[in-house]
């Protein structure tokens, strides 16, 4: 048992933190949001050159053969800098979709490029109601065969759609049933619109309008599809949670900085217990969340059952985000309401993830299920 980084993990964390400080100051975070696609090719090239998209991919598939724990080290540090990138979906849905999917040829063909970050993968999984992942079956479907199905779907909040090379799509196809597909972005019939989201990853509504589906696109079908999606979604949850922990660390750091420098009633704000104790609670909860997230990743790395740990971690991170967001804005006051201050860049990103993959209640029920309730 050792809940501290080993030397390699510490080196990795230091190097990512150094990279963020050097290459990705907060001014650049603000800039990128205004880009047409919200994506910075230059950054991405640097990130993948460092191998950060491949940390947890086995060496035989072109990865670094590290663990998810190491991958989380990267994500947490990127979160501290609010450095958005298609990393989480490329890893969770791309690399692990291929790794854990049941399509050997797709794995052989795509995984090396995906692991290397040369092919960006995004997740087109959320149905347009923002809740379901699997469509309600419609009776009115186009003709199909097992080899050539046609995809009709509208997916929402798809990150980095305009920059993606592949979409991982959850759908239901007649004759195949539930399916997880890996659709190349250049396939005919894909239309997209960037959605208006105040901060954070660029999000898109993506319409798959009578898009051809080939047998080679199917990563998994039937029960295996549901299982594969669950695996990828769980990974995504953990990666996102680590990123969120990083965001929360920075929100707290900005708050502490403010509490130390802002003088009211002749004392720094932080000398008021009501302020200091909010900071103490944020600190404690962020650290607890962090350990829970790392534990879930470690269990997965070891091949243990991580379902309970993952669900508990997601429930905890949701509570932490709500707490950190409320407390930090309370302490920053009007200053935090101004976009000139950086706080909202962290809190709003974190809030956006709070409800992704289902919020607190959903994960508490998952915990309850796993407790045998």
């Amino acid at each position: 048992m050792d809940l501290t980084y080993n030397d390699d993990q510490q080196d990795l964390a230091d190097s990512v933190r150094g990279f963020v400080a050097r290459e990705w100051p907060i001014a650049r975070v603000r800039d990128v949001q205004t880009h047409a696609t919200g994506f910075d090719d230059e950054l991405w090239k640097k990130v993948i050159a460092l191998g950060w998209s491949a940390v947890a991919v086995p060496e035989e598939h072109g990865g670094l053969g590290g663990g998810l724990v190491e991958q989380l080290v990267v994500l947490e540090e990127l979160g501290r800098g609010a450095v958005d990138s298609p990393l989480r979906t490329t890893i969770a849905y791309g690399a692990f979709g291929l790794l854990r999917g049941h399509n050997d040829s797709a794995r052989a063909r795509h995984l090396p490029a995906v692991a290397a970050g040369e092919a960006i993968v995004t997740a087109a999984v959320l149905e347009s109601d923002g809740r379901a992942v699997w469509p309600v079956v419609t009776t009115d479907e186009t003709a199909h065969s097992a080899d050539h199905a046609r995809l009709h779907a509208t997916k929402t909040l798809v990150p980095y759609a305009a920059s993606a090379d592949h979409f991982v799509v959850t759908t239901r196809l007649i004759g195949i049933g539930d399916a997880v597909l890996l659709i190349p972005a250049d396939r005919a019939g894909i239309r997209m619109r960037r959605q208006t989201v105040p901060v954070g990853e660029p999000r898109y509504r993506v319409d798959f309008d009578d898009v051809e589906v080939r047998r080679e696109d199917v990563l998994a079908a039937g029960d295996a599809a549901r299982e594969l999606f669950t695996t990828c979604a769980e990974l995504d949850t953990i990666l996102t949670a680590a990123y969120t922990v990083g965001l929360c660390h920075s929100a707290l750091a900005l708050t502490v900085e403010h509490a130390n420098s802002r003088v009211q009633f002749g004392r720094p704000l932080g000398a008021f217990q009501a302020v200091a104790h909010r900071c103490a609670d944020m600190h404690t909860e962020i650290n607890a969340t962090r350990l829970m997230v790392f534990e879930a990743a470690w269990l997965l790395d070891q091949g243990f059952d991580a379902r309970l740990a993952s669900a508990a971690a997601k429930a905890h991170v949701d509570q932490t985000v709500a707490l950190v967001s409320a407390h930090s804005h309370q302490i920053l006051g009007a200053m935090g309401f101004s976009t000139e201050h950086d706080l909202h860049l962290f809190t709003r990103r974190a809030k956006a993830y709070e409800q992704s993959g289902g919020g607190l209640d959903r994960h508490l029920h998952r915990v309850a299920d796993l407790l045998g309730l």
Partner: protein, 394 residues
């Protein structure tokens, strides 16, 4: 005890409600929703309210009112806030700027300033906060020097000044006239013409968009002697009264109530896994919690008004009312976020945003509600010290 509005009040609510249903534009969301149409639209509505005698109905007839009691005023405020305060910035005029001028102003000042307010023709902004004086207003450093002939020359900077860019014609300004006394004793209130030379307004970009919130710079701005309100160095005492009024004056619960109503409708029409979201246990209890908090905030406000009517109100009750209102608004933001789920990140401008992006907006609105009018910690101090007799903690 009597928990009902009178027949007169009910009739008035109906009449007002009918009027507002017709007059308030479909797109109107909230006075804190920065967009170009907001201010002109609210000006128009305020003028129409004035025509009907509803803008300043609690004022005495000589200043354009009809002497309505506090409960008529409560009805008015609730109807306004349950529609996102379509009076726009002018709610401040009616809630406390006008009343303070009425109470402390000279006869000449009353005539000069109250009539335009009662006609809905003027926008005021409040010049209190400074970069180094937020909750601690006594620390403000904007300086008003008196000249030999009795005028004042004002220099300093205000910040978080809402509607200065509306543009506001007047600023209700707190400035330091005396540096030789204890900090909160050397402050005076001024009625400052925003068109005076030396006044500069710089909009601050905020989470609700650009505009509405500003920095205001005063560079050697000359203010005539007759634009000081009340006695010199008496500003702090006057303002304390005014801020207590403002705390009762903003029925956040009415806004949260309206949002709750909208959420109830949303959950009924939203199907999740083939069943209405309104059947989901968590959603049900979260909306119920919001309802309970709204009802509590409403009653605590009514209690504050009851005591005010009896002349026995203290800062305590308005602090409680304000605190519960703010917390209710904050809860509304969180409950909306949870209820709408992942799509609540979509801004109102996005066609895919559920409830026209209302949940997104309400989350942002939740942020300033526990900050404005003195941070919530200050309200708790007031309750602990003035209400419970605990010692000062600072």
């Amino acid at each position: 005890m009597d928990f009902a509005f009178s027949e007169t009040e009910k009739t008035f609510r109906e009449e007002l409600s009918t009027f507002l249903d017709q007059e308030v534009a479909e797109w109107w969301r909230h006075l804190f929703h920065a967009e170009e149409r907001t201010i002109p639209t609210s000006r128009e509505l305020a003028a129409k309210l004035a025509e009907r005698g509803w803008l300043t109905m609690s004022w005495p007839p000589e200043y354009g009112g009809s002497g309505a009691d506090a409960w008529m005023q409560v009805v008015l405020r609730e109807e306004m806030w349950s529609r996102g305060e379509p009076r726009g910035p002018q709610y401040m005029n009616v809630n406390y700027i006008g009343p303070l001028i009425m109470h402390y102003g000279t006869e000449e000042q009353r005539e000069r300033f109250l009539t335009p307010i009662s006609q809905g023709r003027v926008i005021w902004c409040q010049g209190f906060s400074e970069p180094d004086a937020g909750s601690d207003l006594a620390a403000l450093s904007t300086r008003a020097r008196r000249t030999a002939d009795g005028r004042y020359v004002i220099t300093g900077q205000k910040i978080w000044t809402s509607y200065a860019d509306a543009p506001a014609q007047w600023c209700f300004l707190l400035a330091r006239t005396n540096v030789d006394v204890r900090p909160h004793q050397g402050l005076s209130l001024f009625l400052v013409d925003m068109a005076a030379p030396g006044v500069t307004v710089r909009p601050i970009e905020s989470l609700i968009g650009t505009g509405e919130i500003n920095e205001v710079f005063f560079d050697e701005v000359e203010v005539p002697a007759d634009c000081r309100l009340g006695a010199e160095d008496d500003g702090w005492e006057m303002l304390r009264t005014g801020l207590a009024l403002e705390r009762i004056g903003v029925p956040w619960y009415a806004d949260a109530d309206r949002f709750l109503e909208r959420l109830v409708a949303y959950t009924r029409e939203t199907m999740v896994d083939g069943r209405p979201l309104s059947e989901d246990p968590r959603t049900r209890t979260r909306l119920a919690e919001l309802y309970v908090r709204c009802r509590a905030a409403r009653l605590v406000t009514y209690r504050a008004v009851s005591l005010q009517e009896k002349g026995s109100a203290t800062a305590l009750e308005s602090a409680s009312a304000w605190m519960l209102g703010g917390l209710t608004q904050q809860l509304a933001g969180q409950v909306g976020h949870e209820t709408v789920g992942a799509l609540s990140v979509l801004h109102a401008d996005d066609p895919d945003a559920p409830m026209d992006g209302w949940a997104q907006f309400q989350q942002l609105l939740a942020i300033p509600t526990t900050i404005a009018a003195g941070a919530i910690d200050i309200q708790r101090n007031i309750i602990a010290q003035q209400g419970l007799g605990l010692p000062r903690s600072n």
